[in-house]
């Protein structure tokens, strides 16, 4: 496995008690595989990504569990070592390309610096590599744009530059947090195609975090559905989309409007996801679940086999 996360627990100590943002999160990603992580705002998708790369905002901290990259534990490395790891072994792409780019440097300089910091090569070779990367991510005429600043690029082109930066040191793991959310649909399609091609060609493991099930359907092999800091279902994209097993996933899939499948009403999950300070006991989804029974109120379900996938739901417990 390229990435293995086991029983990860992230806590935010506050004056009014400790908030548990992630609770017993376990998953793995194989080389060349794209794992989609989907969920609504506050489900803990981004925190999962940040915890893996060691960029949790203090006072947030990993309270339990472990993260392994190519078999080696990385969750308790000192900050300096983690910093070297990011960029070299782990590439990161955030939603807003402007947060990842320095507005005062040309994109060529930023790429060169990244390459020189991580790879043993000279300036000339770094420049050649930077140009090749820009071409690979689909920047037309890279040599002409090498000396341009981030503000001279459109949103879609900036995101391409960020992807080139993330790939600069041939990372083994790529974490993309809502990489297409700020982009128009026609640009989104181009970026999705690019991510897919890169995962396939370079054999990197990709963790794609998004709220958009459509993006997952287009890009990912497997998908993990998150709710209130927990994974409620994980399976192949096809299974989860066509035969969701957890009642939350069923509701989520039904609430997505689809072209050419207009319904008089969309499926509606009443209520809202609980806040971190009010996660109900037992299954976190039980107050909104139409199929709950006594056990759901008191005992928390772990992921268990459900159809062709795995779901954290007592409906699937072997009786």
């Amino acid at each position: 496995m390229m990435l293995e996360v086991r029983d990860l627990r992230v806590e935010f100590p506050t004056r009014r008690g400790t908030l548990t943002a992630l609770d017993r999160i376990s998953f793995s990603i194989a080389p060349g595989e794209v794992l989609g992580v989907v969920g609504e705002s506050g489900a803990g998708k981004s925190i999962t990504g940040l915890a893996i790369i060691g960029l949790l905002e203090p006072p947030g901290r990993i309270a339990a569990g472990e993260v392994r990259l190519e078999g080696r534990r990385i969750d308790h490395l000192p900050p300096e070592e983690l910093r070297r790891l990011r960029g070299r072994r782990i590439g990161v792409i955030f939603q807003d390309p402007l947060t990842s780019l320095n507005p005062l440097y040309t994109i060529g300089r930023q790429l060169e610096e990244t390459i020189l910091a991580h790879l043993p090569m000279g300036k000339r070779a770094a420049r050649e590599r930077a140009l090749a990367l820009l071409g690979e991510v689909g920047i037309p005429a890279p040599a002409g744009r090498y000396r341009h600043y981030p503000h001279q690029f459109s949103g879609g082109m900036r995101q391409r530059v960020v992807i080139a930066l993330a790939l600069a040191a041939e990372p083994r793991l790529l974490i993309a947090d809502e990489p297409t959310t700020a982009l128009d649909v026609s640009i989104q399609a181009q970026i999705i195609a690019l991510l897919k091609r890169l995962a396939a060609e370079r054999g990197a493991a990709v963790m794609l975090i998004t709220h958009d099930m459509g993006v997952i359907a287009e890009t990912a092999h497997r998908v993990a559905v998150m709710y209130a800091g927990r994974i409620v279902e994980v399976g192949s994209v096809r299974d989860v989309i066509h035969a969701p097993q957890h009642p939350y996933t069923v509701g989520l899939m039904g609430s997505i409007p689809r072209i050419a499948a207009r319904r008089s009403h969309l499926v509606q999950i009443d209520g809202a996801m609980p806040r971190l300070n009010a996660i109900p006991p037992g299954c976190a989804f039980h107050p909104r679940c139409t199929r709950r029974f006594e056990r759901c109120l008191v005992e928390r379900p772990d992921l268990m086999p459900a159809g062709a996938s795995r779901a954290a739901c007592w409906l699937h417990a072997a009786s």
Partner: protein, 302 residues
């Protein structure tokens, strides 16, 4: 007679640099045409969707209709009772210092309508006690319900909805879309629904207009537009929508990006990205004929 009629409506914005810069650097004034010759009629009780990518002018159309901008050219005629608008960001469109009951009551006081705040709150799925609270005590979806209650307080027969669910999670979006369609049926409302999300528009709209760089390039009944798109841009947009069904249908890859609206291409503004463009497309603006503005369609080439 449509409830709302736009005839050849255009809107220009002055995006010139400051006067001193223009004088010193000999720069001319620069005008940006955000909406260009839009003609559209909306009948009572229907929902017209307007889709397009950022910067295509769809929000400017909304603001022209409710009178937040005056048209630079053309006419807008409204023969109904009253228009109200619902905005995208339910965080920015509610005054954080007001209690919900005061927010919802403002149109009642101002317009003297006979609506009751408690009834309006119940109508949008909130509890009558919620009137006592402040906006920050509500989630995004509930805030959008408050915006809808406030809009309904003015007893409108026409609602202009500018990306009303774009800031919301999908499950909350479903709640709001269902609410809007229930209200439409119960109160006989007419909607102009603006969104960049084609799937959302396909769920709510009876007719759909597709905008590109300020112009409506195609206008058709929703079922027809989504099953048989005619304009090459509409086809490209539909092909770009992620396919949740994973049908593996063949698709044309998207080419290029929306050009700079300050220097739009001559002729048909879509021609640099269009696989069917010929020499005429680069020269001549296509007329809007029979629901579509495209030379290739008019000439029967596609």
């Amino acid at each position: 007679m449509p409830l709302l009629k736009l005839e050849g409506v255009s809107r220009d914005f002055d995006v010139s640099r400051p006067w001193l810069n223009r004088v010193l650097e000999h720069e001319p004034r620069r005008m940006l045409r955000a909406v260009d010759q839009v003609t559209l009629g909306i009948d009572k009780g229907e929902t017209v969707g307007l889709v397009g990518e950022s910067g295509c002018g769809k929000s400017t159309v909304a603001r022209l209709i409710v009178g937040l901008y005056a048209p630079s050219e053309g006419r807008i005629e409204f023969s109904g009772r009253r228009l109200q608008m619902i905005f995208q960001d339910p965080y920015a469109s509610l005054n954080p210092r007001w209690r919900v009951q005061d927010i919802v009551a403002e149109p009642i006081r101002f317009l003297g309508t006979g609506q009751k705040v408690e009834e309006l709150l119940v109508q949008v799925g909130l509890s009558p006690d919620d009137g006592e609270k402040y906006p920050h005590e509500f989630s995004g979806g509930q805030r959008q319900r408050i915006s809808i209650a406030r809009a309904l307080a003015g007893e409108p027969d026409f609602l202009v909805c500018d990306e009303p669910t774009s800031a919301l999670d999908v499950s909350v979006q479903a709640q709001i879309l269902n609410l809007m369609s229930d209200l439409q049926r119960r109160l006989g409302l007419t909607y102009l629904f603006i969104s960049h999300n084609l799937a959302v528009v396909s769920q709510v709209a009876d007719r759909v207009g597709v905008m590109y760089l300020g112009r409506i390039v195609e206008l058709a009944p929703a079922a027809q537009l989504f099953s048989h798109p005619r304009h090459p841009y509409t086809r490209m947009l539909l092909d770009a929508v992620p396919d949740l069904g994973m049908s593996g249908r063949p698709r044309t890859p998207v080419r290029g990006e929306v050009p700079n609206p300050l220097a739009p291409p001559a002729g048909c503004t879509f021609h640099p990205r269009c696989p069917h463009a010929n020499e005429r497309c680069g020269r001549e603006v296509p007329a809007f004929i029979d629901g579509v503005a495209c030379h290739a369609v008019a000439e029967g080439r596609i």
